[in-house]
């Protein structure tokens, strides 16, 4: 394994996460919060939920993207410092799912910003979201090497 820089090593050891709801039904959002509670406790992996995009490495986005949140989502993505990664949590965020043809819905996070990892499920179990984050970390590690 080739050596990686200190900042990249730190990013792999403690990815800070920002959560944004782009019009989801709350189910995925509750499961994201459940990650922080004693049973799943993602802080043991160094994962922290942050309050502002400026502190975050990873954007956990849920929801099928409504017209009203679309540009807001883009702006939050632009506020995050480089390098930044996006995980689409839930089937709505991945494809728009049952709301795909609704008039106020664009149909998926990747219609607005680039997505690195898709976590399907309605809602995905917290274990699945953790698995999605570890998949992303693998991706970052491969890119860093």
């Amino acid at each position: 394994m080739s050596p990686i820089s200190l900042s990249k090593w730190a990013r792999l050891k403690s990815p800070w996460i920002l959560h944004f709801n782009s019009g989801a039904c709350n189910a995925c959002d509750i499961e994201v919060v459940a990650l922080l509670t004693p049973r799943y406790d993602v802080e043991r992996f160094g994962i922290l939920l942050k309050g502002t995009p400026r502190h975050a490495d990873v954007l956990l986005a849920t929801g099928p993207v409504t017209r009203q949140t679309a540009l807001r989502l883009k702006r939050i993505y632009e506020l995050m410092p480089e390098p930044k990664f996006v995980i689409a949590v839930g089937t709505c965020a991945s494809s728009g799912a049952p709301f795909k043809k609704c008039y106020n819905v664009l149909g998926g996070i990747d219609k607005v910003i680039p997505v690195d990892v898709y976590v399907p499920g309605c809602p995905p179990k917290p274990e699945a979201i953790i698995y999605g984050v570890t998949k992303l970390l693998e991706k970052i590690r491969r890119a860093a090497e």
């Binding site: 509670t37 939920l49 309050g51 502002t52 540009l71 709301f99 106020n104 309605c122 809602p123």
Partner: protein, 560 residues
Amino acid sequence: MKTTTLEEDIISTLKGMLGESILESKSPRLRRVYISVKRKAHRRAVSALLKVFPSTILSTITGIDLGETIEINYHFWCGKAEVTIRTNVPKSKPEIETITDIIPGASLYEREVHDLLGVRFINHPNLAKLLLPESWPENSYPLRKDWNPKQMGEIHDSSEKPLTIGGTRTETNGGTLVNVVVGPQHPALHEPERFLFKLDGEIVVDVEPRLGYAHRGIEKAAEHLMFFQDVHLVERVCGICNVAHTTCFCQAVEALGGIEIPPRAKYLRTIVHELNRIHSHLLLLGIAGLEIGFESLFQYLWRDRETVLDLTEKLTGNRVMAEYSTIGGVRRDLTPTLGDEIKRKLRKIKERLDFYREVFQSDPTIELRTKGIGVLSKENALKLCVVGPVARGSGVKSDVRKHDPYAAYEEAPFEEILYKDGDSWSRLMVRLDEVGESIDIITWAIDNIPSGPYRIRVPRRMPEGESLSRVEAPRGELIHYVRGNGTVYPERVKIRSPTLANIISFREMIRGCYIADIPAVLVRLDPCFSCTDRMVFIDEKSGRRWVWTMNELKARRRDP
């Protein structure tokens, strides 16, 4: 005949007061009354209803496009029955007088009908956009049958427009009011919503919510799916009270089609409905702890909540999206072993509940941050038509399970929890006590469940007609109004979630509170609106903007 007396009484009383203005009246089933009145007579009809039943609250307003005319239905809960007052306006000139001066709680519902169907309410104080983006094209109303999706323009972010409540005002002592924008981005939880607060120093003077960030257009989508497909669509209206939505929708369709479900299914629906309520209330109590900086309470409550989610998963197959109710019954049966396990595990939660009650009653932090803060008086609660634990925290009897029983609630022994102080603490205690009642209901239902089938086969095609179904969702009264046209597709599905009913009261509660109380009061209103993690502060004079995160905001909280 005795059972129909109440409904007939209401009709005859109103007929006596309104005379010839009433065109048609009917009562298709228990506690449901429909009255059609002439154009322009709706205000007199509403006043008459309020005179007969002073504690009447407005449930919602449904608009339906009938081709030549737009029908407007005002649904009222008068304490004993759901009375629908119906009138219509021509589509060429869709104008009707507002009822906001009679019932202030009608404000948001009228804005909703204006948004989606283009009905102008004359003399409405502020007929601005409620759900649709501000960039939505003019004269384009999605719920009209002849609406064409191609009329939509490009997306523009409406939230970037400068916001003001009224004009800039300088106080007599020289101080200025400051606008504060909260949301829509909020990292912790739930739906994106935006609030505009007007501050005098640290004290909140006024607030205006901007909803619609999560507006997806489910009511329109429901018209394009078959009844049995809609069950899965309405499940996804809300991820927390999903069971309430499916139960409510299935009940409405069953009433429409005259379907009687087996008694066992009614009991199973009750069990899942109450499991859902326990998980939702524990969730809210945890978040309420988090917002006042009591994080260990949040962690404890959410750990116990996982037990309930496990039980839901074992019974229904999914932790969150239960998809349990279906038209004609439920999808899965309860085995005796699982019934015993549910009872055993809930008994443990009930023991924990005593501990939480002690914390909420005796902890000085909770007392200082919740007692006497965000007060909503009983009069205002009635005037603004609030529902659920918010109403019961102000002493208003509003439990649908008690007053308009459905599923197995008619037989279930339980108490309606009422607190009369109307402050944040009362609203939390209502929820805490209701968890205990829910556990009792589940235990009773498992012990007394009748045997037999849990599902019957139903036709896909539903007859022409209408039905209105109410359930007590964890956040309050939930209403589904379904109209069938004789095909497999519904003509109109109207959903009124409890959050829309309660959000209007936030203005009343927060006036006079401190900035630091905003997240705490907001959360206790309804967990769907804990969206205060990032705030942009705008100084009105200089237009200078700055941003506070939730943690900075918490650091500024009022010293006790």
